[in-house]
């Protein structure tokens, strides 16, 4: 599992002009956050008692963690199906996952009203033990996400340890070398956890919305929610990996990994096809066939979702087109969009608390979400420039 081979820091100056703009925006973000914690959630958001979950939960957490499923989706291929050629994208995928999940964790702290009690979740409700509600799908999500953030950073730690082992000396160097050995020994059990935890919490994110009952439109409210959420996060994961490879090759002038990415196309087609079959079969079996056409705006949203899930399959159907970098890049955006739309609809659009409620995110709410994304981008650029994450060599040479 020596996937480190070929990965190296991109290097170059960190404080470029765009990066300074990014940092300036993060300064503004901190001011808005201060306002949120001083004046309450109502002061910085359009959330109401009818729509208690809005952009922060639907986008930052539910979509954000699914965007962080690149590490999960690629690990299935690289480690379980043992396709060694994908190893060069494992590290960047794990990095985006670690960042995506960490940002989701930050968004949760911003979103919950009484974050000073969050520590009770990892401590089993301490000091009042026995208060855990094991029936709560959200508890399962919370525990798994917390554990998975730690697992992801451990999975990524060799990138940091390798760098420090080179640059440090004396006892610090021996410590990092020892750390590398320990992580290498434990790696398979950590990777196995890294596969188990997303399987659990990505499906539970679907189960969560079952409790919304009549408030969730029947086209989305089905006992198959957990399965559909699980499959769609895998599709999104591949989308993110392809997109990230494409963008980072352009941004950092690396060689494109087109050949390797093209070979992902088959897997992607299968994943999206399984999703579509299950989604439609579920509705037909539960007698909601007509509802697909008669639900007004909900029908429109539903068919947009279906179209976006189907589009990458159509784009990849032609083998010659599939091998083009542009096709792969456009399909990756659609892949991400498909799962994101499905999640956004399930958590917001198809959620209807009653006729007297409306929701639209307001400016500070939007800025808080943008700040979370900005922080993720800033950290990503810093880490790939300073630590061995991206493979600089062409994929063809590093594959066997």
């Amino acid at each position: 599992m020596a996937h480190a081979s070929g990965a190296q820091p991109v290097g170059g100056p960190l404080l470029t002009r765009p990066y300074k703009w990014l940092l300036a925006f993060l300064g503004l973000w901190l001011v808005i956050l201060f306002w949120r914690f001083a004046a309450g959630i109502g002061a910085v958001s359009g959330l109401t008692d009818g729509y208690p979950w809005g952009l922060w939960i639907a986008f930052d957490v539910v979509i954000g963690t699914a965007l962080g499923c690149g590490g999960y989706a690629i690990a299935i291929l690289a480690y379980i199906l043992n396709k060694g050629k994908y190893h060069p994208v494992v590290r960047p995928a794990i990095l985006t996952s670690a960042l995506g999940y960490s940002m989701a964790a930050i968004a949760i702290v911003i979103d919950v009203g009484r974050p000073w009690f969050i520590w009770r979740i990892p401590l089993g409700g301490w000091p009042d033990l026995g208060g855990y509600n094991w029936n709560s799908a959200l508890l399962e999500v919370a525990l798994c996400v917390m554990a998975y953030v730690i697992v992801l950073w451990i999975e990524l730690s060799p990138a940091f340890l390798e760098r420090w082992a080179e640059t440090s000396s004396g006892w610090l160097q021996s410590l990092t070398r020892w750390g590398l050995k320990v992580v290498d020994k434990l790696l398979i059990w950590i990777v196995a956890l890294g596969l188990l935890l997303p399987t659990m919490h990505q499906s539970s994110l679907g189960t969560v919305m079952l409790l919304a009952g009549h408030k969730l439109h029947p086209l989305w409210n089905t006992g198959w929610l957990p399965l559909l959420f699980l499959i769609s996060c895998v599709g999104m994961g591949y989308g993110v990996v392809v997109w990230e490879s494409a963008v980072s090759s352009a941004a950092f002038k690396r060689e494109r990994e087109t050949a390797m990415l093209t070979s992902l196309a088959g897997t992607i087609m299968v994943v999206n096809a399984i999703y579509l079959v299950l989604r439609l079969a579920d509705l037909v079996i539960s007698g909601k066939t007509l509802m697909m056409f008669t639900s007004g705006i909900y029908s429109v949203m539903f068919w947009i979702e279906i179209a976006v899930f189907a589009a990458p399959i159509v784009m990849f159907a032609n083998r010659r087109r599939r091998e083009k970098f542009g096709t792969m890049f456009r399909a990756s955006i659609l892949l991400v969009l498909a799962g994101a739309l499905y999640r956004f609809d399930t958590y917001l659009v198809a959620y209807n608390p009653g006729p007297n409620w409306t929701y639209f995110p307001n400016l500070p709410e939007l800025l808080i979400t943008l700040g979370v994304i900005a922080l993720e981008i800033a950290l990503y650029i810093f880490i790939v420039k300073r630590f061995p994450i991206l493979a600089g060599v062409p994929a063809a040479r590093s594959a066997h």
Binding site: G84, G213, H400
Partner: protein, 290 residues
Amino acid sequence: MSMDRRALLKGIAVAGAGAAVSATPTEASEAPQAPPDAVGMLYDATRCIGCRACVTACKTANDLPGNLYDPPNDLSGDTKNIIKKYEVDGHVASYMKQQCMHCLDPACVRACMVGAFKKRDFGIITWNPGRCIGCRYCQVACPYTIPKFQWEKANPKIVKCELCLHMLKVGKQPGCCQACPKAAVIYGTYTDLMADAKERIAKHPERYWPQGSPKIFGEHDGGGTQVLYLASVDFAKLGLPDLGAESAGALAQKVQHGIYKGFVAPVALYAILGAVLWRNRRAAAKTGGE
């Protein structure tokens, strides 16, 4: 080699899918029962004159801000009980009282991660400020959209009717039931109230909706509630959802328990994943890495 690995994987996927799918139609769950000491309220909309004395009394009993001369429009972080007017063609069709229904199978309790919401003494659902994280899943889950959040506070609370448990404990009735001049809302044990409602229907079936076989809202709705409603118009027009007899929580639990029964599936999956990884790694070491 790669074939049986694939078969193994397929097995995992099928097992996972099977758990999720088979969970849906399993055995019908029994209807939830009220605890033996359950208490509740019976609100008869045909007796209500819309004076809102109960709204003020609730504020006094629960030490909430607001007064009769600036009455609230809806439940909120300051208001646990409200009377609403429903008009049809410009005429008052009915009044409706809104507060926590104290469900027999409460979605808020099923939702709450840390047990801040629990069905405690007398089947009353109370909120524990010492546990709540403020995630607001209770608000998403409640079929009546009852729990309210204090959006404008840095240290917000979840606010909802707790049937004046603090008053019951000193031998008094809930504020709203004490205040009602027409006895439109009364307090009692769940059994007594159910009998009372059935008696009213038997005596004056013409007063209640639907004509012919009047309905007690809360007898079966969403698994049943400890607060019961009688009215002369369709409950849907009074802002109440059509829930059917099964609670949303019952379905969610079937799915969740189907997947996580005894935590066997996650442990088995972890063992299988570990075994596959270990074998792949050993194979890689034999062939001299990748």
